[in-house]
Every structure is written in C-alpha cells, then in structure tokens.
C-alpha cells in the first residue's frame, strides 16, 4: 500500500490536538500538548521519547485511563470512525480488552496474583462475549498456543507467580488477543525483561500483529527497537510531537535537532576504541508546569535562533513533519 492509499483509507485510530493536564502542588502540568497522529490497519507506529515526554500519558489518554484529577481535551479521538472522545467511560470499558488490546510494561501488575492464568484469560472473553461463554476455555488454550506457551492446558491452572517474567508477558499478550482486537496499545512491553527475553517477546508481538492484521501503537524509549519494527515513528519531547516520519526516512535523516541529538547519544553511535566522547544533549527538559511558549527544545538546541522564541508549528515536509523553524530548509541548501 502506498502512502497516499494509506492516508485515504480510514485510520483505525485518529488523534487530533490532544491535551492532558494534571494538577500538581506547584501548578498545572501540561503533560501532553496538542498531540495528533493516525494509526492504520496493519501498521505499527512507534511513539518514542524520553521519560516525561508524554508518550505514556498519551496512550493512557487514548484509553481513558488517566490518573485521577487529570484532564483530557482534544479536537478529536476516533477509533474505527467512532468518536471515543465523547463516548464516555462505559463505552471505553467495552472497547478496552475487546477491540483494543493493552499490554503494559510490568506483567506482574497487569495480572491478578490471586487468580489462575485460565480464570483471567476466560474472564476477559466472558465479559466481552457473554453469549459465547462456553467457548472461553478453548479460546484461552488457543491464545496461549498462539503466544508460544508450551503445555497451554496445564498452564490454565497456574498462578502468575509460577511463571517467569517472559512467560507472564506472553500471558498478558494472550489476554490482549482474547477478543480478536483491531488495535493493540503496548507501552514499553519489554522494558522490565532481560535482553534475550526482550527480543523474543518483541518478535512474538510483531509476528502476531502480522498474523492478525492488527494496528499496533508501540510506546518505547528504545530507538533501536523502534527502527526495527515501526512503519512510522512519532517523536515526542516535552509533551509535543516534534517529528513524525516513515521509519527509513526518519533514521536516514531526522529533521528535528532533538531527534538528531538522541541518536548521537547512543553508545553504538560511537565507533569502538575511538576514545571520542559521546555526543550529549546539554541541559535538561523544561518544566511542564504552566504554559510553555516557543520551541520547548530551544534552550538545549545547537541551532536555536531568536525565531525559536515564537511558537513553532509542525511543518509539513511532504510525507513527514517536524516542529522546527529550520525544518525543510536543509533541502533548499543542499
């Protein structure tokens, strides 16, 4: 499918101008500031950025699972064409676990320690498919098989603590798949796992996504993971989307100075034994308490100029975009 065909088909998820504000002792935290993106059928979009950039908060906002006191505002949030921004919690709780699968970082907190694996898997199915309750058990066995868990029938009667971290995350993935979702939102699904297990779980997730034709929204801090699995990359900084592009184009030439800075920071960016220091991003992330005006990255940016003090819109660079006054000028020079 070409990029134009993709954009013409109805997206699975469309987010427009989404904001999240959280109350804090010192004022209001603007955790998410005007985030917009689309996710299409069969597509993997990776939202990348460092802690506090608003990537997890955006996922929670879409799912209507924000912490108490948080306020969500948006131009629109639609799922398969349905307005889920104004749908209310009742409708969202129908969608979560059914059309929308969720996978979070720590499988132990996603699973109830006092219920068996089987009870938890079947419960999801019975809740969302009340007239097909009888199929729940077979469905659970089937999904455990799909996620590569050996002896699935015996596993049904085990408790989460009896499984390793990797197996637990497979169970969480099986649970997300119980009702044949259209979309999966996965927030750092492998961060809590050992590296060799991380690779296995990621590969499983991508295989399943392809097998079931899912749309996958993957939140990750890991650029290497994003480069390998994403169709498109969304980079967030200080609550905003600062760059969005197709994966190959993004990694070939990131257009936002923050994105370039992040890549330069990776130890793998430095040839071994050269002894040269790693590139760094000077300074720290600005406080998100109160309104931020102008480019949020300008204090740390090697290319900042007076124009950066005014608000910078996402610039359309033809199939990609970046929130930088210099974006789009590189080609003119080259």
């Amino acid at each position: 499918m070409t990029a134009t065909e993709m954009s013409e088909s109805q997206p699975v998820l469309a987010v427009r101008d989404m904001h999240v504000r959280l109350p804090h002792r010192a004022g209001i935290v603007h955790a998410v500031r005007g985030v917009s993106f689309d996710l299409h059928r069969g597509e993997t979009v990776c939202v990348v950025g460092e802690s506090g950039c608003g990537k997890s908060m955006s996922a929670m906002a879409i799912l209507n699972l924000l912490p108490r006191g948080a306020r969500r505002e948006a131009g629109a949030i639609s799922f398969l064409g349905e307005d889920v921004l104004n749908a209310g919690e009742r409708r969202m709780s129908e969608l979560r676990g059914d059309r929308i699968g969720m996978i979070f970082q720590e499988p132990l907190t996603a699973l109830n320690p006092s219920l068996t694996i089987g009870e938890q898997l079947m419960e999801v199915f019975r809740r969302h498919r009340p007239n097909r309750k009888g199929e729940a058990r077979e469905r659970a066995v089937d999904m455990l098989t799909q996620v590569g868990i050996p002896d699935p029938r015996e596993r049904l009667s085990q408790y989460p603590h009896q499984l390793s971290g990797g197996l637990r995350q497979r169970v969480v993935i099986a649970m997300a798949l119980m009702c044949e979702p259209t979309m999966i939102i996965a927030d750092e699904p492998t961060t809590a796992l050992d590296v060799t297990i991380q690779a296995q779980i990621l590969r499983l997730l991508i295989d399943l996504k392809d097998r079931f034709g899912l749309a996958l929204l993957l939140i990750t801090h890991d650029l290497a993971v994003a480069s390998r699995v994403a169709d498109r990359i969304v980079v967030m900084y200080a609550g905003e989307v600062v760059e969005e592009a197709e994966t190959a184009a993004f990694f070939a030439a990131p257009r936002h100075p923050y994105a370039r800075g992040l890549m330069g920071c990776l130890p793998s960016a430095q040839a071994h034994g050269s002894g040269a220091p790693l590139q760094i991003i000077p300074g720290t992330v600005p406080s998100l308490i109160g309104e931020i005006s102008g480019c949020a990255f300008r204090e740390r940016c090697p290319e900042a100029e007076p124009a950066c003090r005014s608000d910078v819109a996402l610039r359309d660079l033809g199939g990609r975009s970046a929130r930088c006054v210099h974006a789009g000028l590189e080609e003119a020079v080259a």
Binding site: E50, S51, G148, I149, P150, S164, G166, L167, R170, D194, V195, T196, I197, Q198, A199, Q200, L202, R203, I206, H221, D222, L223, A224, V225, S227, R228, V229, T247, A248, F250, F251, A252, G261, L262, M263, G264, C265, L266, P267, S268, Q270, H272, G273, G275, P277, L278, Q279, I280, I281, T284
Partner: protein, 277 residues
Amino acid sequence: MSAKPSVLSVRHVSKTYRLTAGMMAPVRQINAVNDVSLDLREGEVLGLIGESGCGKSTLSRLLLGLEAPSAGDVFLNGRPISSLSRKEIARVLQPVFQDPYSSLNPRETVEQAVSRPLQVHGIGDRAAIRRKVAETIDAVGLPRRALASYPSQLSGGQRQRVAIARALILEPRILICDEPTSALDVSVQAQILNLLSELRRSANISLILISHNLQVVQFLADRVAVMYVGKIIEEGPAAQILRAPAQAYTRRLLASALDIAPGKGIPLLDNEVAAVA
C-alpha cells in the same frame, strides 16, 4: 598482555546460599557465584555482562567486601579483603549503584552527602573538606549551586553525578559501577558514560562496569567477562569478545542487543524454538 599490576584479584570465589522452603522441605543450595577468578588491572575498565540472576550483583557484593565468599578470596592490592577493615576497603574501592533515587539520603543536601565520607574517615579540617567537596563537584560536572540542594530537587542524571562525586571524594583507585546508567534516559546516560570515561583517563581509576547493556559495555570496557549461571564463561579483550565470541550464550546475548536497523525486524535467536522463557 598488559604489564600493569592487578589492583583487584578474585581467586576461585564461590558464594552459596541455602534456601529452606519450610520445616519439612529439603534444603536447596543456590550457587550464586561459582568458582570465579578475575583480575582488574590498574587504569582498566573491566565490563561484567550477564542477565538477571547470573550472579553479577552477588559478585559485586563480594568484591565490595559486603559479603564474605563461601570459598576463595578477593585480594585488594595483593591483600586479602577479609583482612581489611571497612574503612580500609572504602579508601581504595567505592561503589556506584544503579538507582540514584534510592542510593542518596533524601534528608541530606548534596554537600552533606558528598562530604560525609571525609568526615567518617576524619580527613581534613572544615576548610579542607569544603575545598575538596567543591573540587569533586566540579569534576563530576555539577554546578556549585547544587551543593545546597536536596536529592528531590535534582534530575536523575544529576543525582547519579552526586553518587559518583561521593564515591570519588576519598580518591579511590577502583570504582565498582553496578548498572550505573540503566535507570537513566539515553541523553543522560551519554553524559554519565562520558564522565566515567573521562575519570578513568584523568584520574587513572580502574572500573568494574557491571551491566546488561552491551552497548554501554562496548563504549567503556577494555576487557569483558561474560557471566552465566554463576560462572564466568568467557573473558577477553572487549573488541574480541564483542566481535567474535566463542560461547553460544555470548552470541545469543550479542544477537539480542539490538542496534538501529530500519525495517530489519527482530532477529530469531539460536535455540529460541527450544527455549521459550
């Protein structure tokens, strides 16, 4: 081979824990560290890599003298660590831990935290301590105004710099860094890695860098030891081990350390079909 003397030697060290599940249950033995021998030479960075449960944290506690080995000996500058007092060890060997959020006392200012080791060791008068703290704070790249701050007022990267300053204040010869950047964002990780690399050059400090992150190890380490189920299964120059590992487990570890490779997907690891974990 380097002719530099060994500052820390580990000789056939084992640590066994006994687990009892209940009165009637059989006693099980866990060989957390199993016959490990290692040498850290002067001015060298030795990377110790392995996954959770491989025994690398137990080994670091043995190296720090925080626990006694069940068998074998650890030698610090040729003297058995068991014959040295805590203070004697601390003058030569200092730890830097993973989590700068829990390794600092929230009620102490940066100045108090960093000067504490000097007071404990009774080194210097007030003015000398002041001067030394200021120098050390400069050396780790913290602004002097940070001295009056509490940990809660600092970012994760700044806290890790405070932890490193506290470790450096006694001018130790050896730092044992246990996952020093794994709680930090990559942009902050880069700053801390640069700092460690600079310290090793400017102060000729030897480092043991314990990490599961191969890229971090690759950036800093001269030599690498790979630990698996309590044993060192492979050891050698970093370039050699990370380019052409001899052991299947090391190859597997290397294959799962992903680099940027757009569209390449996640590689299938050896034995993956057999071992679902």
